[in-house]
Symmetry: C2
Amino acid sequence: MSLIVQKYGGTSVGSTERIRRVAERVIATQRAGHRVAAVVSAMSGVTDTLLGMARELSPRPTERELDVLLATGEQTTIALLAMAINAAGARAVSFTGAQAGIVTDGTHTRARIANIDPAEMQARLDDGEIVIVAGFQGRTMAGQVTTLGRGGSDLTAIALAAALKADQCQIFTDVDGVYTCDPRIVPDARKLDELAYEEMLELASSGAKVMQSRSVEFANKFGVPFEVRSSFNDNPGTHVIAEHMSMENVVVRGLSVEKNQAKVTITAVPDRPGTAASVFNALSSAAVVVDVIVQNVAHVTGATDISFTLNKDDLDAARAALEPVAREIGAKGVEAKSGVAKLSVVGIGMRSHSGVAAKLFASLAAAGVNIQMISTSEIKVAVIIEEADITRAARAVHADFGLANGPLLA
Amino acid sequence: MSLIVQKYGGTSVGSTERIRRVAERVIATQRAGHRVAAVVSAMSGVTDTLLGMARELSPRPTERELDVLLATGEQTTIALLAMAINAAGARAVSFTGAQAGIVTDGTHTRARIANIDPAEMQARLDDGEIVIVAGFQGRTMAGQVTTLGRGGSDLTAIALAAALKADQCQIFTDVDGVYTCDPRIVPDARKLDELAYEEMLELASSGAKVMQSRSVEFANKFGVPFEVRSSFNDNPGTHVIAEHMSMENVVVRGLSVEKNQAKVTITAVPDRPGTAASVFNALSSAAVVVDVIVQNVAHVTGATDISFTLNKDDLDAARAALEPVAREIGAKGVEAKSGVAKLSVVGIGMRSHSGVAAKLFASLAAAGVNIQMISTSEIKVAVIIEEADITRAARAVHADFGLANGPLLA
């Protein structure tokens, strides 16, 4: 009998009525002949309420105690879901992260999973029970409560699927799956039937926020295929799987759009070892997360420009951190600009097919969109453009790569 | 350095502002030179909200899952209180019931404490930290979450005080202490400085609901003295302690009043072995809790009347359970009446001084109050009277025993 791990996010369990619907779906899965383990998040809004109380009591709440506090959110959901399933005539048993044997390191608020001991869950599943597991949380070897940070419930589900050697892992969310582009921007965006982990990673890190990169990386590392699908309907979702041969034929899988970006250029940086390190150490110390970094070859003057992008909310912090560094390394100055956006084209087939970048640039040129920065990886080409141009650019590129009609084959 | 266990109930931690005030009190206790362990309840209202959600999902929620659900209430409070203390410059660390080593049996929703391993808490206290413990909860040997039932946080505090060999145990609540009578009924009721466990037990089981009997019994069994006091002011409270010699001189410590009672009489019960057992087995099976039971000697007819009191809300259930039994044992019938109340006079000194009952009856007669039933224990005389008479009766008895002016000495 096959084993399915299902994960339901905060919106899917956002009220008792929704929890009841999740209970029905879980039971239907069991009645279809599967063993089921369901991972759940805190009911939507609960985590924010708890964080609000914490902030009323402390400007910088103790991280250990934040974990104790936030872990109550998922603990509430597991108990309610187990009750709802029991009330509907099936048998369920809840597990907190600690009870599920999810052992983490001791980094409070962003712990890493070290090990999962699935023995107790396995025994309950073998006994015909539905197992309900609190996402986002674990415990240290010493019994401290820990949480896994953003996207933690997805991570729990993927890790559980690996530990239980599940046949399927289904991530239920409030969208139908992964699309060729955000349908709010490109109305004829198409839901993908499947894509490779690497493609999902590039899309996730490029702004398609269906899942955090971290969970996808974990799934990739441990070879756990999963399906992203909606908890509000029965439509099939998108399968995220290991790369296979025929994927090479798909040159472009999809595009992603990230708004609210800013770009910073440090001009005329003297071309000597250690200057880039000084720059990015300063940003890291100021907790500024940097996205794309571009540095071109030095001018004949022996100086170069270093540019990078970041979220526009971090722009002031970045500028404050950089100005002393720019003086110190003898750069000419710091130029900063918000109001830019990133457009990325992703596909495994790019690796073996040239011409994607050229085609992208031609498409943007035809749409009258100026490119400010370019960055590429093996399976991605990203450009930074004016934020005002992003919708026009995305629609043009989506159309020119024929993404609405099915995968573009080489 | 002395060790104080403090317990704060749901009202005392009912908002972030109140949690902040509890934090201040705990820190002040530490700065006065004590080691402090604080036991806290769920914020007032939280448990009801959780139970409300449970009932929306299930007419009879699974007890195991109810415990998982309800335990989140205290877990939230410990984290918030620890954060508030840390924010105010002291050092605190929270413990769930499980982390505090509170091991119980497996009776979900009303578990009994089997053992407490205080090693980890002791280590933190020795290290100068304030220890914050979730009341009301524990875990089984197998790691299941359990709760202790009504009054469970008081029980946690008393048990912790025993396990940690605390010098003091302070139960903070929303009243100033234990009074000679309920001040809402007898305006000149006086706060008691001290009373014996047995007196507290008789008062608690007679309606003075400052604490559940169970916690007092536990304190008595393990010899843990405690103080009941208010979390809203700095007034000294009432010390509940082991009986000592001079207590014998206090004939009457206080009186308690219990309204909303009903009385049931099974008339002309044939005087033969087993009839009383049949009656009370039937009530027990119907989950009816019986208070005072009175049976007088048999008439010359060979029959007797058995009377008992109960909460008036249970009256219909009791009548339904009794009617078949009355027929079976050959009794004449079942008479039931609500609208009665119980007045109890309690004092250890009664044991060695006669005349308390006579004085009580005389006081009631002078006030024109008719006595319907009488029941006595070693340190208590209780009468059942019309509920309409209870305020007049309590004031007359309180005055005649001189309770407003200080203990009545023999």
